[in-house]
Amino acid sequence: MLVHTEKENLKPREFRRLSQFVYQNFGILLPPSKRGMAESRLQIRLQALQMASYREYMDFVLSPAGKREVFSLIDRISTNKTDFFREGNHFKFLREVILPRHEKKFAYQELKVWSSGASSGEECYSIGISIEEYIRAHQRAINYSIIGTDISVFVLKQATGAVYPLEQVRKIPPEIVKRYFLRNKDAKKKIVRVEAKLRQKIKFQWLNLIDDHYNLFQEFDVIFCRNVLIYFDRKTQEAVIRKLCGKLRSGGYLLLGHSETISNVDFPLRRLGSTIYQKE
């Protein structure tokens, strides 16, 4: 049936319900200026659920029956921008500072890395590749594990699948691509997959950073928390940083996104460089 549909707009009232919900449950800030964005992002959900109005959708989401839809909502509302070796200075720091120091100090201990906004996994695999390359270059045996967490199930599935468009690995040097990626038999599909050995090193887990307690039973040597805090307000940012510090071993490193800073509040963190902090 071909019907011309003129969807109802996301009305300010509904947007307020949405932003309040999202803020309280995920800490993500949706100021009034983001109404348009929210509208367009959720449109797909409305279509999928064959709902005519955002009001209907919000009613559903907030009802007990809509509990599962919350994950889809956050899939849509969360922004999952990532890339292989994005903000390269951190990977450089990992190779040149963190790994040599770790090797020197805790030679045989496992290096535990947490990517707290793993998105579709590129960051985790970039970390893995960096460590592997270090091991290769220095002929060392470094034991390591990487855990990637995110609020979006959708991206976590992508991360677990580790399948990426060929386009996305174009920026990685070909020899590294050859070393750590598998190409699809069907060349037309133009997709690659991270090879199994590296995949096994990396686990993904759903985690909401604004939860009071993180379901992670270890302290990490390195925490990547890049371009996550930008979606939070200052209060939430500080609370999250405090919790991240709790999960960081003393002397461990916290790496933030290019626009994120820690100022004013006295965290047990020492600034080593732009967006690089070390726990005291």
Partner: protein, 665 residues
């Protein structure tokens, strides 16, 4: 005139006066001292001249004493006087060496003295010594005589001669000779004249002859010889010597000449002259001294009076000046200065004094107080500003965050848009194809509609027949019902059938009517559709065109979105700068705050008293809206739901991706 200059001139003037007085007094005293020295010198010279005379007198006295007594002891003053005189003259010559005529005088005195000594004194002494020698010889002679050795020997000889065997004449001759000799010796010794010795000499030669003549024994010979040699000859030798010496008469004769007195008088006169000249000098010097002393006194008196006068005038002038400058008691001013230097600005000033240092201090304290208050206020303001800066930096940082978030979101949106555009492109291509197909099918559709219209019309015809049949059936059913009623009980079942048939007929009738109207409307619709289909063709053509346009637009959109993507990259770097800027700002604000605090601390040195209340009426930063928190103004509900991953079944591995589909490079 500068205060320093005033003080220097004031003090300098008095000091200068004092200096002048001092110099004058110094020179006066110096000249007085010199004068005194000269006076003393003169006294000394006179004294020495007197002493010189004394030494001269000593010499004279000594010389006289010796001359009178012949005792060597008396020569002592003479000798010592001589030495002292010579030394003193030499010394005095040195002393008066500044005065050549006096030296000349001394030279002549010295010469006179030496002359006196050589010509008079030495002469006297020589004479007296000679006298003394004579006396000595006389006493020796006396002692020899007194010893009686001569008499004894003479007696022995006499006895020897008497007892000898010599003739009496011989004996007498010999004794006579001996007596002659003794008489001659005695005469000589008494008269000290050689001519008295003649009997002795004669006797002696006669004795020798008479001894030989008498052939006197050896014993007598020896005895006489002994007497002659050991007594007489010895006395004669001494007597002869004594005769050569002078006696006191000679001395008196020399005395009587009074030559010594002449010399002495001359010396006395010379010395007197010498002293006279010196005492004349003394008079002049004393007069000079008195004059100098008087001058000194005048200089001191008038100088001091003058200095006092100038000093007093200057003191009055300077004091007045100081008081004008200070404006109050120096101790008060000093106290105020000390208080201010201790940072105490809560000073109570005398309201009446407005001039001078005191007044200026008052103004200064007031101004200082104002400034300090101002600085304090500014420091507070700086603190506020730094807080604002800190907030701004937070704002910047928040802005950067939200910008970064927006950028990410745009980026994602762009990705989605690109996917959409691609989707659109493929969709529109498909649409185009479909449109063409549709156009073709529409032709077929039109034919079908025409056929349908014909068919419909046929159906309507047929339906009318059905309708007639239904009518007739109805009538038949009615008839049958009537017949059935007539048949009674037997027709009951038939009646039911008839009724049913009638119902069916009615229904058929209704259906026929409906079909008729439907077919009529269908025909209408079909005819309309035909018309629509005719219209549709250009519309589809238009659609195809539009779709092509959409396609072109999509391509443009794609390139546009790529541009946007690169712009986003730039935006990211800008954001980064933004963030570092905000970090710097935060840092600066912290520094400013620290500075302000230290400024406050520094300024707290000043005590402003309780008149000053720190009432800063600036905007309290705590009331400032925090830009970062604006957004969450509307989220204060309690709508948090319990949502945990294990609360909802999440299987991240439910995909159907298989490694078998992938191969190594």
């Amino acid at each position: 005139m500068k205060f320093r200059t005033q003080l220097i001139i004031g003090n300098g003037a008095t000091l200068f006066m004092l200096l002048i007085i001092g110099i004058l007094v110094f020179y006066s005293v110096k000249s007085l001292l010199e004068n005194a020295k000269w006076v003393e010198h003169t006294y000394k010279v006179i004294g020495k001249a007197n002493q010189l005379l004394g030494y001269m007198v000593d010499q004279e006295t000594g010389m006289r004493g010796f001359a009178v007594s012949g005792d060597e002891e008396f020569l002592e003053p003479y000798n010592s006087g001589k030495v002292s005189f010579d030394a003193l003259v030499k010394e005095l010559k040195v002393t008066v060496s500044d005065n050549p005529p006096q030296v000349e005088r001394l030279n002549s005195i010295e010469k006179q003295a030496i002359d006196w000594r050589t010509k008079i004194a030495e002469d006297y002494i020589e004479i007296r010594n000679s006298i003394k020698e004579g006396e000595d010889l006389e006493s020796e002679i006396h002692s020899i005589i007194k010893s009686g050795i001569g008499k004894k020997t003479m007696d022995e000889i006499r006895e020897l001669v008497q007892n000898s065997s010599l003739s009496l004449a011989d004996k007498n001759q010999l004794i006579l000779d001996m007596i002659n000799m003794e008489t001659g010796l005695r005469g000589f010794l008494l008269n000290e004249g050689e001519n008295y010795l003649e009997p002795y000499i004669l006797g002696k030669s006669l004795l020798e002859d008479h001894l030989d003549e008498a052939n006197a024994s050896q014993t007598i010979r020896n005895a006489t010889r002994n007497w002659v040699n050991n007594y007489a000859e010895k006395l004669i030798r001494l007597g002869k010597k004594e005769a050569k010496t002078q006696d006191m008469l000679d001395l008196y004769q020399v005395f009587r000449k009074k030559e010594g007195k002449k010399y002495m008088d001359q010396i006395r006169a010379s010395l007197a002259e010498f002293k006279e000249i010196e005492s004349n000098l003394l008079t002049i010097r004393l007069k000079n001294q008195e004059y100098r002393a008087n001058l000194t006194i005048y200089v001191v008196i008038f100088g001091i009076i003058f200095s006092l006068l100038i000093g007093i005038l200057l003191i009055i002038y300077i004091t007045r000046n100081i008081f004008n400058t200070l404006g109050g008691e120096p101790s008060d001013v000093a106290k105020i200065v000390k208080q201010i230097s201790n940072g105490d600005l809560s000073i109570r000033f005398d309201k009446d004094i407005v001039k001078g240092l005191y007044g200026d201090m008052k103004t200064m304290a007031i101004k200082l107080k104002e400034i300090v208050m101002e600085i304090s206020r500014r420091a507070d303001y700086m603190n506020v500003v730094s807080k604002e800066m800190s907030i701004s930096s937070q704002g910047l940082s928040d802005g950067a965050n939200s910008q970064a978030a927006s950028t990410e979101e745009i980026s994602v949106s762009m990705e989605e848009m690109l996917t959409n555009i691609e989707q659109n492109t493929s969709n529109s291509l498909e649409t185009e194809k479909m449109a063409v197909d549709t156009a073709k099918e529409i032709e077929k559709g039109k034919e079908a509609i025409d056929n349908t219209v014909g068919s419909m019309k046929n159906i309507a015809e047929k339906i009318r027949i059905i309708s007639e049949i239904a009518q007739q059936t109805n009538i038949l059913a009615l008839n049958a019902a009537v017949e059935a009623a007539r048949a009674g009980e037997a027709g009951k079942g038939f009646a039911v059938v008839a009724a049913e048939v009638r119902k069916l007929a009615e229904k058929s009738q209704v259906a026929a009517i409906e079909i008729d109207s439907l077919s009529k409307s269908s025909v209408n619709i079909a005819e309309n559709a035909s018309i629509l289909f005719n219209d549709l063709v250009p519309k589809i053509q238009r659609t195809t065109q539009l779709v092509q346009e959409i396609n072109a637009a999509s391509i443009e959109q794609k390139s546009g979105s790529q541009q946007i993507n690169s712009a986003i990259q730039q935006l990211n770097s800008v954001t980064q700068q933004y963030v570092s800027g905000s970090e710097e700002l935060a840092n600066t604000s912290k520094k400013v705050s620290t500075q302000a605090d230290s400024l406050k601390f520094t300024i707290n040195f000043f005590n402003l008293g309780n008149t000053y209340e720190n009432n800063i009426s600036l905007n309290d930063p705590s009331t400032h809206a925090q830009p970062g928190l604006e957004a969450d103004q509307h989220v204060h509900g309690n709508g948090k739901i319990k949502l945990e991953s294990n609360g909802v079944d999440i299987d991240l591995n439910d995909s159907d991706i298989n490694d078998a589909d992938f191969i190594k490079y």
